[in-house]
């Protein structure tokens, strides 16, 4: 996985972004009404649980990018969207719904708070990645239509090399996910498996 002389997935070049892994998006009792439509959610979470220790052991920065809404960031248009989706609120600051689902940042991980689907919109994610001199962003987490995909596209627009870690992305129906992965693979960048990444890291050693 090299571009020119650059090792695209070299541990010093990349970071894992784990998007929206929160109760409201994943738990059956969460606010997101479509939380239960991914039959593979548990499998994806297990894949993430296997992948993160491998990334950490390689020194790859792990960033938990979470959604938080509060009374300052809820606009009339957001309220209309929630109404359409049959929700009273989503990932409200300090609520159980905003808490991480099954996984939590470890000591050397970083939590980044976002306020809209994209992790880059009015957040310090870009600065954090630049401070860590990250060139390749490995996307995992929840939300094929929202969090993961919007963050991936904004990362491309900001000139990062972006890879979707397919087996570590949950959310949506299998058909939706397949369509989006296909679109991403054809028009945007690359879709990879966590196994291929771990293999590349181990071979590089």
């Amino acid at each position: 996985m090299a571009v020119g002389n650059r090792d695209r997935v070299g541990p010093r070049n990349c970071a894992v972004l784990l998007v929206d892994l929160q109760n409201d998006f994943c738990h059956p009792n969460g606010a997101w009404k479509n939380a239960g439509i991914d039959p593979d959610l548990a499998k994806r979470i297990e894949a993430i649980q296997r992948f993160l220790p491998e990334a950490r052991s390689q020194g790859v920065p792990v960033l938990f990018v979470r959604t938080v809404y509060n009374s300052w960031t809820i606009s009339p248009s957001i309220q209309s969207w929630w109404q359409k989706m049959g929700m009273q609120g989503l990932c409200m600051e300090g609520s159980w719904g905003a808490d991480f689902y099954q996984l939590a940042p470890q000591q050397n991980d970083r939590a980044v708070t976002k306020y809209r689907p994209s992790g880059f919109m009015e957040t310090d994610l870009d600065l954090t990645l630049r401070a860590k001199e990250v060139e390749t962003v490995l996307l995992a987490g929840v939300g094929v239509w929202g969090g993961c995909f919007d963050t991936a596209r904004d990362a491309i627009a900001k000139s990062y090399d972006v890879m979707l870690v397919e087996d570590c992305i949950a959310g949506g129906t299998p058909e939706e996910r397949s369509v989006l992965m296909d679109i991403f693979r054809r028009y945007h960048s690359e879709v990879v498996s966590s196994r291929a990444l771990v293999k590349a890291w181990k071979q590089a050693k």
């Binding site: 009374s71 960031t73 809820i74 606009s75 919109m121 009015e122 310090d124 600065l127 401070a131 001199e133």
Partner: protein, 203 residues
Amino acid sequence: MTISLKQRVDPKQAALVILDMQKGSWPAKAGPAGGEEILPELIALIKEARATQLPIIFVRNTHSDWTTTRSRKEQTEHIGVDYRTRYWEGTPGNDFLEGLNPESQDLILIKHSYSPYAHGPMELALRSRGIRTLLLTGGSTLGAVETVAKDSMVRGYNIVMIEDCVHPRSGPVYDVVVDYVNRHLGITATSGEIIACWQTAKR
């Protein structure tokens, strides 16, 4: 079309912004005339702002290894200071100065450089709340305050810099900034003039 001070500070469309008023922001060598000098006027203004239900935004400058770029480290090295600032994330210097007590309805916005627009939901919050005018306080006058005045003006917001609630609030640098703000970015007024507008509106 001239917009009056009273219209600008109308609590229905304005917000009070308090910049970088943290324990570590003001070096000991600044002596007793550090940022604490403006606290009496600022605290009185906050009290009146709360009474008029004006939205309040506390901006906190925070640095950490996660957000310090190589260029920032090079710049601090160039001027011979430690890049680990006195208001480093998780240290007491990052706390707000005594007497400034954000409440649950206030917005606490973290920034990592001069402008809160760069790394946090500043504009998202202003738009979501329908805020059009920013009343700027805190410090430093030429650093964060002037930067936010300019960054806000170019985004279409009205600016009122509060003359006695910025630090420094006298001297050549202050004079230049006041002149610049009044000519190019907005207006300046004293906290007393603003409080008088709110009190007149209440009657």
